[in-house]
Amino acid sequence: MSSASDQSNHERERQLAGVWDNLPGWGTLVAVNHTSVGLRFMATGMLFFLVGGLLAMLIRTQLALPEQTIVEAGLYSQLFTMHGTVMMFLFAIPVLEGAAMYLIPKMIGTRDLVFPRLSALGYYCYVFGGLIVLSSLVLEIAPDSGWFMYTPLSSSDYSPGPGSDFWLLGITFVEISAISAGIELVVSILRTRAPGMSLNKMPIFCWYILAMALMIVFGFPPLILGSILLELERAAGMVFFDTTGGGDPLLWQHLFWLFGHPEVYIIFLPAAGIVSTLIPVFARRPLVGYHWIVLAIITMGFVSFGLWVHHMFTVGIPHLAQAFFSIASMLVAVPTAIQIFAWLATLWQGRVVFGLPMLWIVGFLVVFVCGGLTGVMLALVPFNWQVHDTHFVVAHLHYVLVGGMLFPLVAGFYYWLPHVSGRMPSYRRGRWGFWLFFGGFNLTFLLMHLTGLLGMPRRVYTYEAGLGWDWLNLLSSVGSFVMAIGVAVIIIDIFLHFRFGEKASQNPWGADTLEWAIPMPVNSYNFSSMPEVSGRHPLWDTPRLPERISKGEFGLAHANNGRREIYLSDAITGKVTALIHLPTNSWLPMLTAGALAVVCLALLLKIYLAALVAAAVALMVVLRWGWENGGHPKISTVGEDNPDDPPVHSRTLDGPGLWGMNVTLMSNGTLYVSLIFGWFYLWTAAPQWATPDKAPVSISLLTGSGLLLTVAVGIYHKAVSRLREGNDSGLNQHLWVAAGVAGLHWAMLILAIVNSGLQPRALAHDAVITVALVYLAVHSGLAIVMTALQAVRAGMGYVGKALPYEPVVVRPFWIYTLGVFWLTVAAFFLIPLAWSVP
C-alpha cells in the first residue's frame, strides 16, 4: 500500500517537474523560474565581485608605498571609478536581488515569482549592461570621474572620451533589471503568500525584502533621470548641468544622492533580513520584538530618503537646511539600534548553537556597529566638513557596506548552501576564511580612519613620503591582501563542500521557515503541494509539514492541465482569491534584453538610426510578449476550470497585473517627480537661470491636446466601468474610439513640440520642457498602442465579460498619463506664467 502510494507520489512529482523544469541544453538560457534566475543573479554577481576585488587590489598595491608609479594617475582614476561602480551596481544590489528572488517564493510558500519573464528580462539586462560597462575597462576607456560621476567632471568638457557614456548608458541598462526585480518582489510578497500567511505571520525576511523592493521602486528613478539628462547633455548638447545655459551641476548631485543614500539601505535591509532570519534559528527561539523590527524596517525605509544632502554638506547649502539632514541622519540610527538590540536580546534569551553562519553574524555585529558609529560622527556637520573627501569617509563606507552587507551575505550563503548542494558547509575549513577576511578587513579599514584623520584625501593616486601616512598605507595594503586570501579560502571551501561536504538532512539547521520544507537539493517547483500555514514559524509549529507537503496533502498537488499554477492571495489576510497561470520558458526576455543592448551599443557608437531600429525591435518583441498574456488561450482557456479551484486570475478584476501596473507607475511617477524637482530646483537655485522672452510652446495647442486626452480617458474609463459591471457590448468599438481620440491628442501634442521655438541646446529652461513634452508623448503613444491591442483582443475574444482582466490593468496607465499631462501644463507653463505676471 505504502509502496503504491509512493509510486503515485513519484508519478505526481514527475508530472510537476515536467511542467516546471527548464529546457535541456541551450534551452536552459530561456529559463524563467525563480530558482534558476535567482541563482544566476548570485553567481554572476560573485563574478563581478571578483573583478571589483581585483581592481581594489591594484588600488592598494599602488598606495602601499609613497611615490609609486605602478599605476598612472589616469588609470588609477579608472580603477577607483570602476571599483565603486562594479561593487555597488554590479555586485551588491544584483546579488541581494538574486538572493531575494531565490528565497522569497520558497519562504512565502509558493512556486515562483509572479512575473517570471520579468525576472529573466532583469537578469539579461543585468548581464548585458554589466558586460558593456566592463568592456570599457578592457578597452582602457573606462569612466574616470568617480562612481558618483559628479558634473562638470563627468561632462563632455572635462571627460570628452566615451568613459562617462559607458557608465551612463550601461548603468541605466542595469537599473532596468533592478526596477523589474523590485516590482516583481513587491507584488509577489503582497499577493502570492501561502494560504493563511497573513501580513503579521509573514517571515521577517519578507518584510525586509518588501521594504528593499519598494525602496528600489522609488529610489532608482532619480538616478535614471539624472543619467538620461547627463547623456542628453553630453551627446546632444542639451543644457541641464552647465551653468552658462542656466543649468546647475549641483542638480546632478541632488539626483544622484536621492538615489545614492537610499541605496545604502537598499543594500543593508536584505542583509539585515538575513541576520534577523539566522539569529533566531541559531538562538533556538523566536525573534525578540517582531513588531518592533517591522516598525524599524518601515521607518528606515522612509527616513533613509531624507538623508541625501548629508553627502553634500560642503557644497554651500544654508546651515538650517543642513541641520534638517543632520537631524534625519541621526534619526535613522534609532531604527538601526532597535534591530541591533532585538538581535542581542534574541541571542541573550536563546540557547545559541554556534555554527559557521553565526561566526559571520558576529563579525557583522562588530563591524557594522563600528560603521554605524562613524556614520553618526559624519552626520555632525562640523566633523563632516573636516573629514570630507578623506580616507576617513572611505573607511566609514566600507565598514557600513562590507559590515552591513557582505558579512551577512556570506553568513546567508553558508546557511542556505545545503539548499542548493544538499551538503553541509564545514566549520573547520570555513572558519579559516572568516578569520582571514575579518582580520584583513579590519587591518585595511580601521587604519584607514587614521589615514583620513591625518588628512589623506581619497582618490589621489600617490602621496609624498614623510606625511605620516606611509606605515598606515602599507599596513592597509597588507590587510587588503590578507582579506583577498580570505576570499580565496572561502571560494575554495565552497567548491570543496560540493564534493566533500557532509550530506544534509531535512531542515539541517532546525529552522522555522518554509524554504526548509523543500527537498534538497532544491527542485524546480519548490512545493509538491501548496502549504497552508497558521503561524509565523510553520516548521516549528508543525514539524511534519514537509512530509505532508511532499505527500500532496495540500492544494495544487497535480499539474494535469500542463500549466504552471500558483495561488493569488489577499494582501492582508493571505486567503486564496484566485489561481495564477504563469508563463513558461521563453526566449522573449532574452531577445528583449538583446535588442536593448543593441540600443545601448548603438548610442555609445553614436549610430542613432541603428539605436532607433533596435528600439523598435525591442518594442515589437515586448508586444509579442504581451500578446500571450492575460486571456490568451495559451495562458487561460475559458471553460477549462476545475469547479473546486478558485477562478483563474484573468477572470478577476484584481489580478497581479493590476498590482504590477500600479507599482510600475509608482516608479514612473518618481521619475516624473524628479523631473519636476529638477525644474523647480533650476528655477530657484541655478546661478544663471534664464527664460525665453516669449512662451516657446503654444498653450492653446497644449490645452486642445489635453482636452482630447481627457475625452479619450473618459471613454476608456466608461468602457472599463461597464466591463466591471459585466457589460461587454460594443467593448472593442469603445476601445477603438478611445484609441482614435487619443491618436488625435497625440498628433496635436507632436505638432506643439515640432512647432515650438524650444532651444534645448541654449537654455536649461527649454531643455527641461523638451524632456517633459517628450515624456508625455511617449506615454500617450504607449497608451494608444495598448488600447488598440486591447481592441483587437476584444474582437478576438481574449477580452470580455468572462475575461475582464486586461483593460482593468491598462486603466491606471491612462489615468496616470492624463494626470502627468495636466500637471506638466500647470508646473511648466501655468505657474511660471502666473509668477511672471506683475
Partner: protein
C-alpha cells in the same frame, strides 16, 4: 469608538506625512530664501522660523491625535482578536504615527536656533 476596519495604508501614512513635511521644510526654506529672504541680523527670530515652528507644532499635534485615534480604533462591540492581521495593522499604525510625530518635531528643533538663509 469605531468598529470599522483600519485600512492598511495607515501602516505607512504617518511616515508619508513626515516625508511631505520634510520636503516642505527643505523646499519651502529654499523658496523663502530665494524670493523673500529675511534680514540676517534677525538671527533665528524671523518669520520663516516662526512659521516653521508653528507648522511643526501643528503637525506634531495632528499626528499625536491620529495616533490616539488608532489606539481607540476597532475597540467597539466586536474587537479585533489579538494576533489577527487587523489588530497588527492597528498596533503598527499607532506606532508609526507616534514615530512620525516625534520625527516631525525633531526636524524643527534646529529651526529654534539657526537663521534660515545663512
Amino acid at each position: 469608538m469605531s468598529t470599522r476596519r483600519l485600512a492598511p495604508i495607515h501602516l505607512v501614512l504617518g511616515l508619508v506625512i513626515w516625508s511631505g513635511w520634510f520636503v516642505l521644510l527643505y523646499g519651502g526654506l529654499s523658496v523663502a530664501c530665494e524670493f523673500a529672504p529675511p534680514d540676517t541680523s534677525q538671527g533665528a527670530r524671523t518669520w520663516v522660523n516662526f512659521l516653521m515652528i508653528a507648522l511643526a507644532i501643528l503637525l506634531t499635534g495632528v499626528l499625536l491625535y491620529v495616533s490616539y485615534r488608532c489606539s481607540q480604533w476597532g475597540l467597539g462591540s466586536v474587537p479585533d482578536p489579538p494576533g489577527s492581521p487587523r489588530a497588527f495593522i492597528r498596533k503598527m499604525a499607532l506606532s508609526v504615527y507616534l514615530i512620525s510625530a516625534a520625527g516631525a518635531f525633531a526636524l524643527a528643533i534646529p529651526v529654534m536656533v539657526l537663521p534660515p538663509c545663512v
